[in-house]
């Protein structure tokens, strides 16, 4: 079970959280102006790198707040977590 660092509450067990996939994918300014391929990219395409990925999680059974956190998809190690709309910390190495 992952130990996820909520930036508001501190590290908590994975069972308190829900996953929100890749972070920093903004809802398009004007969806109707996008063609099918551009819209599909927003809706369906998420990065799945081998290594570090900035992800969104929500502390559903805790403070109920969404946040971003770096996670290594191979080792499951967590890097720094940070609140939405704050400066993104550099990717851990």
């Amino acid at each position: 079970m992952l130990h996820i660092p909520c930036p508001y509450c501190g590290p908590r067990d994975e069972t308190e959280f829900h996953y929100g996939a890749e972070a920093h994918i903004a809802y398009p300014e004007n969806p109707q102006s996008l063609d099918d391929a551009q819209w599909a990219k927003f809706v369906f395409i998420k990065a799945n790198p081998k290594g570090w990925l900035a992800e969104r999680w929500v502390h559903s059974a805790g403070c109920r707040r969404w946040f971003n956190v770096w996670r290594n998809t191979i080792t499951h190690e967590f890097g720094p977590s940070y609140k939405p709309f704050t400066q993104q910390p550099k990717s851990p190495v």
Partner: protein, 891 residues
């Protein structure tokens, strides 16, 4: 030391209290324990602890337990066991033992209380860390305990420190990410053979450790030669340990070794009074203190040879051993009733591989080891390759065998898997351990390859001329040993297995004899049987009462989210497909929400309580998911919107009175309220005292009938319900459950998200284009409706189905094919499936809702439902069956 009487396979024996059952049986001269599961070959004891592949038993005394290694059972008076020929049987009585769970956070968790584990514990305790030491054996000491050598009192003293917790008989079953581990502590089985109810039998520990030290030690492994499975052929470390403790049915031993450990065990056998006929060492030369000691004890040493084959006496026990060079050229035969094998050490890498660490092969030790020292995890002792000073070894797993010999040379005893099986796998082209394992079933039995894993990799390597770690990696999965399910459940059994949510009216439903339906964690009354009615009869009666008189339903389980803030309207315009910002205060509106992919996600009615205060309802099962969804958009996209969301599901009780006579009933319940259609219109909300309780009354209908939903503070729910029942007695007030609710809404073609939808339906697919706003610039899902895929031909669309035989209810989930020609030769393409199907009192016949490819354009077409043995036919219709004009909702 006291004696303990026990029964094995119906025979009574006496052993020493606290020794292992295996040891007690050996003490009583039982060498042949059982027969193997597949080939029925006589088998005896091999090992010392959980690595034991042969000597498994079923325990019949106390709470009972199937397939336990006799090596791990501490002997208690009154123990009753049966040998298990590879098959366990569960006791057929309920286990009344208590099981518990503990959660702990700790600075350092040390797995293993041997010399290495205690040394690590001492180091961390001195730094002021909070330390837990877990060990699966009854006492500390690890190998030192078995070797009979004294572990220093100074080292043992670490276990008494205030910041150190020592848990014996505690098996770490799984190690997971970020220092999370699960362990089971056996607390009563060693006390006596009774069911204990005052203290938990097994306590499951859930630990989060900042740092975990793995000092798990090692098992010895066997060698692969012909007839290597006879009773009397044992691992040398085990044999020497048993006989040293006085469990000695043996006279003459031969020790077969690849390392210096075999010499140490030969000496221990010799000192315990067993005649050691010879030590057979595959190495041409070996040196070290153990070898010198064997030489000076006058024990014969044969080098450059190994075991090739064995023979048995009439009892099945080994009687002599044929030895040979590695290439299989035979040299001599030696008489012995004990063949002690030292095939090398296999460090217990399980926990390390659970967290993805790959063991590395150390040829000098002939072992897979794990050297790790990072923030989360470190390894120590034999696992880390610290085998002591006198441990030279050869990389050797067994001699060259003929086909006949290979047939009886066992790699995995529990699976009766031989070198012949193994050669077939290699011959069939398998090269990876994963493939060989699956082809031969090696490593898949009760012991999960504890003794055979390294041997298998070694043999593949030997066959292909590669090092064992070039074949793949050893991968184990939790649990480390089998665990009773009851131990994992702890106290969460029966009623406590999952939270149960009930409404304040629940007791009334139960008293009325309503069977309950599980909706998420909620218990909802399914139907209210009168006399001895079955569900079919009850539902027809309930539905008829709703359509003709008045029914009452407990709708308190609907998810409710309180929304406040000046921007709620604007927010709801983005969340729902239809318009909400224009909703007038005091009005309710039905809304549909979609995901960004345009697929229907949830639905419900939202009410504008005041200018900046709204109340959203969600499906009973969808409340938590919707709340997360709202928060996601508010927190991560539209942060400028002022909206606050609070779950109020349990704070409000909702009693719905439904049917043409509900207006009369409502006026009786709230005499001050003008209930006329002009004063209180559809989708309006009014506030009034209902039976002395301030209530919000909403004219909302999920059946198409005139209906009032009475919302009161949660705890008044039962009071309102009882008033409804008494005031409506002469109106044929009829309580109804979820089944009638489903029928009534289906007759109107109202969808249930999750029943008519499976996450692949757009509103248009559900024939609900009317709810998709054409005015709004954007809302979640809008852009996806214009995607090629969501607007293509052939999508499954919601339609009604009327079976030709109106007395037949098509099973939900049934597939539909086009036409009604029963003679269409297969394969026949299916065009859709039934989502809801009921018998209708209003229609006097059966009907169904279905999702059918291009369904909306197919109304009037014939369909067929292939059933087992016959074909049922029917016709595609509109999805609304009752009151298409919505004439009934106003009464």
């Amino acid at each position: 030391m006291s004696n303990a009487n026990f029964t094995f396979d119906g025979k009574k024996y006496t052993g020493v209290s606290g020794e292992s059952l295996a040891s007690a049986l050996l003490r009583n001269g039982v060498v042949h324990f059982t027969n193997s599961s597949y080939k029925d070959r006589p088998r005896g004891l091999m090992g010392l602890w959980v690595e034991e592949p042969n000597a498994l038993v079923n325990i019949d005394s106390g709470p009972g337990e199937p397939m336990k290694a006799s090596t791990t059972i501490e002997l208690v008076d009154g123990l009753v066991v049966r040998s298990s020929q590879g098959v366990g049987d569960l006791p057929d009585t309920r286990d009344n033992s208590r099981y518990d769970k503990v959660n702990r956070h700790v600075d350092v968790l040390v797995v293993g209380a041997g010399t290495a584990g205690l040394t690590a514990a001492k180091k961390f305790a001195a730094l002021g860390k909070d330390v837990i030491v877990m060990d699966d054996q009854p006492g500390p000491g690890g190998h030192a305990r078995h070797l009979g050598t004294e572990i220093s009192a100074e080292l043992l003293a670490v276990l008494d420190l205030a910041n150190v917790t020592y848990l014996p008989r505690t098996t770490v079953q799984g190690l997971y990410d970020q220092g999370y581990l699960v362990a089971t502590e056996r607390r009563t089985d060693h006390l006596d053979a009774k069911v204990h109810t005052e203290v938990s039998r097994i306590r499951t520990w859930h630990i989060r450790a900042d740092h975990t030290v793995l000092a798990t030690g090692a098992f010895q492994r066997h060698l692969v030669f012909a007839n290597n499975d006879r009773p009397g052929i044992m691992l040398s470390h085990s044999a020497a340990t048993y006989v040293t403790r006085g469990a000695n049915p043996f006279k003459t031993a031969v020790v077969v070794t690849i390392d210096n450990q075999g010499y140490r065990d030969a000496l221990r056998l010799h000192e315990a009074g067993v005649t050691v006929a010879a030590v057979i060492d595959i190495r041409d030369a070996a040196s070290g203190p153990a070898i010198a000691a064997v030489n000076s004890a006058g024990i014969r040493v044969i080098t450059g040879k190994t075991a090739l084959d064995s023979a048995a006496s009439d009892s099945g026990q080994v009687c002599c051993l044929t030895i040979a060079k590695a290439d299989g050229t035979q040299s001599e035969t030696i008489d012995a009733d004990l063949v002690a094998i030292s095939g090398g050490w296999t460090p217990i890498v399980h926990l390390a591989t659970f967290i993805g660490i790959k063991p590395t092969w150390d040829p000098a030790l002939a072992a897979f080891v794990v050297k790790r020292d990072d923030k989360l995890t470190s390894t120590a002792g034999m696992l880390a390759g610290d085998f002591g000073d006198d441990n030279e070894a050869a990389v050797f797993f067994g001699p060259q065998l003929t086909t006949e010999q290979a047939e009886v040379a066992f790699v995995d005893y529990q699976r009766d898997a031989t070198v012949r099986d193994f050669n077939r796998a290699i011959g069939a082209g398998m090269r990876s351990i994963e493939h060989v394992k699956r082809y031969t079933s090696i490593g898949t039995a009760h012991d999960q390859g504890k003794t055979s894993g390294t041997t298998t990799m070694g043999l593949i390597g030997q066959a292909l001329g590669k090092a064992p770690d070039e074949i793949g990696s050893l991968t184990f999965r939790p649990p480390y040993i089998s665990i009773p399910f009851a131990a994992l459940a702890g106290r969460d059994r029966g009623l406590l297995s999952d939270p149960i949510r009930t409404t304040p009216i629940h007791a009334w439903h139960e008293k009325a004899g309503a069977p309950m339906e599980d909706v998420g964690q909620w218990k909802r009354p399914w139907f209210f049987p009168k006399n001895s009615e079955n569900m079919h009869a009850a539902v027809l009666r309930e539905c008829a009462a709703v359509r003709e008189d008045v029914g009452v339903m407990d709708a308190s389980t609907l998810g409710k989210i309180d929304l406040q803030g000046k921007d709620v309207g604007e927010f709801l315009d983005l969340i729902y497909t239809n318009m909400f910002s224009t909703l007038k205060v005091g009005m309710s509106r039905y809304g549909l929400m979609c995901g960004v992919d345009g697929m229907v996600f949830d639905d419900g009615v939202t009410t504008r309580i005041s200018e900046n205060h709204w109340l959203m309802t969600t499906t009973t099962g969808g409340a938590a998911k919707v709340l997360d969804w709202l928060e996601e958009w508010l927190q991560t996209e539209w942060t400028d919107l002022e909206v606050f969301c609070t779950s109020v599901t349990e704070q409000i009780s909702t009693v719905a009175i439904v049917g043409p006579k509900s207006r009369e009933l409502m006026s009786r319940l709230a005499p001050d309220l003008d209930v006329s259609n002009e004063a209180f219109a559809f989708m309006e909300n009014k506030y009034a005292d209902v039976a002395g309780v301030p209530a919000r009354i909403a004219r909302i209908s999920f059946s198409g009938e005139l209906a009032y939903e009475i919302n009161v503070p949660g705890s008044f729910g039962l009071h309102i319900w009882e008033k409804v029942m008494s005031q409506g007695a002469d109106l044929n007030i009829t309580p109804y459950g979820t089944e009638s609710m489903h029928v009534l809404r289906a007759e109107k073609g109202f969808v249930i998200v999750g029943q008519e939808t499976d996450g692949t339906q757009t509103p248009q697919d559900l024939d609900m284009d009317w709810i998709v706003s054409k005015k709004k610039e954007d809302f979640i899902g809008k852009r996806s409706f214009a995607r090629v895929d969501t607007s293509r031909e052939g999508r499954h669309q919601l339609v009604g189905i009327l079976p030709d035989d109106g007395s037949f209810v098509i099973p939900e989930g049934a597939y539909l094919v086009a036409g009604s020609d029963e003679k269409t030769p297969p394969p026949v393409a299916h065009i859709g499936y039934v989502t809801s199907s009921y018998a209708s009192a209003a229609l006097g016949r059966s009907f169904a809702l279905a999702l059918v490819a291009n369904g909306l354009a197919r109304k009037g077409e014939k369909i067929a439902v292939p059933m087992a043995g016959r074909v049922v036919t029917g016709i595609i219709t509109d999805s609304v069956f009752v009151d298409k004009e919505n004439a009934r909702r106003d009464g």
